[in-house]
Symmetry: C2
Subunit: 461 residues, 2 copies
C-alpha cells in the first residue's frame, strides 16, 4: 500500500477511508482512553493529528512509549477533527512503531538556537524552521528555472573546474591530484604537467565567461550552479560555496539588463508569497516581523535607477556618519547600499555606471571613458543582491582593459575569439541565490539557508 503525503491529506475537501501515512512524531499527548499524535512527514510545515485509541492492540506496548522524533506508520481514516485547531484528523486503525527515537535525540520539544542547530546540520531539517527554509529553497530554485524558461532562456551547465579567474580577485581554491606530501618539481617550480589537467586548475568563481559563449550562439541563456570563494572571512554573508544564477543575453544593453533583473526579483517574490504562503508565514511570525512588508515593497515598487555619480552625492549629503567615507571612485559598502535603499529611497535601487577602475575587465567602457556599464541591484535588508553589466564587445577595448588590469591575455584566447568572430552587444548579471533566500525568509546568516554550509574551518557533514 502506497503512503499518502500529509500535504495532500490536509488539502482534501472530502474525508478518505483506509489511508496509510508515515512520518515522524512531533509530540504525543495522552488522555485516559487514547493518545493524540502530531505527525509530520516533511511534505509540509503542518502536522496531522492522529488519534490512537487504547483499543489498538499495541497501545500499551508501543504507542504509550512513543517519543518525540520517533518514526511511525499509521493506517486509518481521514475524518473531520472533533477538536479545534485543525480541520482533519486521522483515526488510526493500526499504528506501527517503525523506529523509536532514543532519549538522547537532540531535537527535543524546546527551542534550540541556530548556533546549536548548525552543529547538527544533518538533523536540523527535521525542525519546523529548517524544514520550511529548505522547502523554500527548493521552490525558489524551481521559480528561477520557470522564470527563465518562460522567456525562452536556455539553461547552461558551465564548468566548475576552470583554469581562468573571471573576477581576477585571486580568491581561488586550487584543485589537484598531486601528492601534497611530495609535490613534483621541475626547475624549482611545481611541475603542473604532472597534475590531472596538465596545468593549474581551480574552482570557478563565476560561470559568466563560459555563459557569454553560449549567449553568442543560443541568444538568451542562464547558469544556475555552485560557485566558490576561498575568502578567509567569517561573516554572516559569506560562504566558501554558494549558488549563483547568471543570465546572459545577446543583443541586450544595460537598460535591458536592469529590466530583466527587476522582473526576475519581482516575479520570484510574488511566486513565493503566493505559492509558499504557509512556510513564509513561519518566517514572518518567528524570524522577521517586517518580512511581509519588505517583500510587498519589493514586489510592487519600481526599482530606482540611480547613476553611481548621483549615488555618491546622495551619500555625501546624507548628514549621517558612515564607517567608510565615500568619494567618487570608491566602491559602495553595505552600509551605503542599505542607506540608499532602506533610508533614502525606501525602495529597491539599481546603481549603474560605476568607475572603471573598481570594476572587472569585461565590463563595457562608457563613452565618458571613466565609467563602465555596470549595475548593482540593492534591496532593503540585504544590500546588493545582483551585480551585472553590459559586456565589452569591442576586441581592442577589451584587450586594453586586460592589459590595464594586469591580466595575461593568453589563457583567454577563446574569450577574445568571441569578439573576433561576429561580436555583438550583450549583457548579463549574477544573483546570489542565498542572498535571495535570506531576503525571502528574513534569515540573517547565510549558514542557515545552505543545507551543509562550507566556511573557513568548517566542512563537517
Amino acid at each position: 500500500m502506497q503512503r499518502t503525503k500529509i500535504a495532500h491529506l490536509l488539502q482534501r475537501e472530502e474525508p478518505l477511508a483506509d489511508l496509510l501515512i508515515k512520518g515522524w512524531v512531533r509530540t504525543r499527548r495522552d488522555s485516559k482512553t487514547f493518545s493524540f499524535i502530531e505527525l509530520n512527514d516533511g511534505s509540509c510545515l503542518k502536522n496531522i493529528q492522529v488519534i490512537a485509541a487504547e483499543t489498538l492492540p499495541n497501545y500499551a506496548e508501543d504507542i504509550r512509549r512513543i517519543t518525540t522524533g520517533s518514526a511511525v506508520a499509521v493506517r486509518g481514516d481521514l475524518v473531520p477533527s472533533q477538536g479545534g485547531g485543525q480541520r482533519w484528523e486521522v483515526k488510526a486503525s493500526q499504528l506501527v512503531l517503525v523506529s523509536l527515537a532514543p532519549d538522547t535525540f537532540p531535537l527535543q520539544k524546546k527551542r534550540h538556537t541556530d548556533e546549536f542547530l548548525r552543529t547538527i546540520a544533518h538533523l536540523r531539517p527535521r525542525t519546523n524552521k529548517y524544514g520550511a527554509a529548505f522547502r523554500l529553497r527548493s521552490e525558489l530554485s524551481y521559480a528561477i528555472h520557470r522564470f527563465f524558461r518562460d522567456r525562452g532562456f536556455r539553461y547552461i551547465h558551465t564548468p566548475v573546474i576552470t583554469a581562468s579567474d573571471c573576477e581576477g580577485a585571486g580568491e581561488l581554491f586550487r584543485i589537484t591530484t598531486l601528492d601534497l606530501k611530495d609535490v613534483p618539481r621541475n626547475q624549482g617550480k611545481v611541475d603542473t604537467s604532472q597534475d590531472f589537467f596538465g596545468r593549474e586548475a581551480y574552482l570557478t568563481v563565476s560561470g559568466q565567461l563560459s555563459a557569454e559563449m553560449f549567449a553568442l550562439a543560443l541568444g538568451d541563456v542562464y547558469t544556475f550552479g555552485p560557485t566558490f570563494r576561498a575568502e578567509n572571512s567569517n561573516t554572516r554573508r559569506h560562504a566558501a560555496e554558494f549558488w549563483m544564477v547568471e543570465p546572459e543575453m545577446a543583443f541586450c544593453d544595460l537598460a535591458g539588463n536592469m529590466a530583466l533583473a527587476q522582473d526576475m526579483i519581482q516575479e520570484i517574490i510574488r511566486f513565493v508569497m503566493k505559492d509558499c504562503a504557509e512556510d513564509l508565514e513561519l518566517f514572518a511570525r518567528f524570524v522577521d516581523k517586517t518580512l511581509m512588508g519588505t517583500l510587498e515593497n519589493i514586489a510592487s515598487s519600481d526599482f530606482v535607477r540611480l547613476p553611481y555619480t548621483q549615488a555618491i552625492e546622495i551619500i555625501k549629503q546624507a548628514g549621517q556618519r558612515f564607517e567608510y567615507p565615500v568619494e567618487w571612485g570608491t566602491d559602495l559598502q553595505t552600509e551605503h547600499e542599505r542607506f540608499l535603499t532602506e533610508t533614502h529611497f525606501h525602495a529597491p535601487v539599481i546603481v549603474y555606471d560605476y568607475p572603471r577602475a573598481i570594476k572587472p575587465f569585461y565590463m563595457r567602457v562608457n563613452d565618458d571613458g571613466r565609467t563602465v556599464a555596470a549595475m548593482d541591484v540593492l534591496v532593503p535588508g540585504i544590500g546588493e543582491i545582483v551585480g551585472g553589466s553590459q559586456r565589452e564587445e569591442r576586441l581592442e577595448v577589451l584587450e586594453a582593459r586586460m592589459a590595464e588590469t594586469g591580466m595575461r591575455a593568453e589563457p583567454y584566447w577563446w574569450y577574445l575569439d568571441s569578439r573576433r568572430y561576429a561580436s555583438v552587444e550583450h549583457s548579463g548579471f549574477g544573483l546570489g541565490f542565498e542572498r535571495l533566500l535570506m531576503l525571502t525568509t528574513g534569515i540573517s546568516n547565510i549558514r542557515d539557508v545552505i543545507p551543509f554550509p562550507r566556511t573557513p574551518g568548517s566542512i563537517d557533514f
Copy 2:
C-alpha cells in the same frame, strides 16, 4: 524596439508587420536584384529566410559582403514565403550589419568533424548540431525538475566540497589553499590544519549521503548537480566533471525505487519526443538512424526485472564470446549489460540483488546475507544509466559493513546518527545526466554533450 525571436516568428499563424530580428547569418545567396539570407538566432534549429532587395540603401556597401557567421539586425515584415521550403520569410525594410565575421571564422559552410569542433568548444554551439544538443540539454534539465516537483520531491543542493568519499573509490580531486610550492608540514606530514577547512577536502563524487539526511526529514528529495571523478581514463563515456540526478526517498524499498527509475526515464523520453521534436529530428537524421526506434522502445516497454543471479546464468548461457568472463560474484561489464538489454531482452532491464562484496557499504544487506538490495537500470545503446539501492537503515549492520570495507567510521558520525535517531527504510538512485543525453541524442562521446568538457589534460575554455 524589442527583438522578436525567430522561434516565435516561425510558429505564427498570421503575418506580422514591422518586426525586428537579430542573429547570425548561416548563408547568403544573391540573385540579380536581391539577396536571400538564412538567419539564425539560436532560439531554434530552423533559420528564417530574409529577403534583402537591392533597393536597400546599404545593399552594395554592406549586404553584398555579408559573410557566413556575421551578425545582422533586420527590420521588416513577416510575409508568406514565395519560394518553397518555408512557410514564412522576412522582407527587410532595413538591414544593419552589426558585425562582420572575418574570413578566418572557423565555422565555414562545410561539415566539420566532432574532433575539430571540440578544439573550438566556445564556437561549436553556433553549429546546428551543437545548438540542438545544448538546447536539448536545457530542456532535459527542465523535464527532470518538473518530473520530481510534480511528485512532491524537494530539490536539495548538496555540497560540492566534502570531506567524505561516498563511493570509497578513492578517485578524488583534492581542494586546497595551501601553497603547493611550499606545503607546510608538521611532524613530517602535511599540516592540513593550515588548509582552508582545517582538514583534507575533496570534490564530491555523489550527493547521496547528504541527500539521505534530507530524505529522512522532508520525505522525498533529489539532487541535480555536478559531481567529479579524478579517473585518469580517456574513454568516450567518462569525464572528470559531470552532472548527476540523485533522488532519495524515505519509506521506500527497492521495488519502489525501481518503479521510480522506470517512470522517470520513460516520462523524460516521452517529453523529449514531444517537446523537442525539431532538435531530435536532427539527431535521428544525421547522428543515429536508429534513435527514434530506441527511444520508442524504451518509452513503451515494461522494464525487465532481473535478479543478478539470473543475469549471470543468462550471460553464461549466451553462447557468445565476451572479453571479460563472468561468474557469480563478478561485476557486469558494459558488454554484458548491452548483451542483456540489446540482444537478449530487446528492452530496458533492471538487474538487482548484486553480491555484497562488489557494492558499497551503504547498500542494504538482503536476508540471504550474500547480496544487497542494489539495482542498475540498463538501456539499449548505453548500458547502465541508473545505479541505486535500498539503503542500509540498521545501525549495527551498517557499522559492520563499514568495518568490512575498511572504512573509518569517525568521519561519518553524522551519517550514522541518522540510523541512531528514528531510522527508517529508504532508497534512492543516481542517474548520469550525460548518459541520458547520449541516449536521447545518439551522440556517442560524452565530450559532445557537455558545454566545456573536463577530461585528463583538458581544461581549456
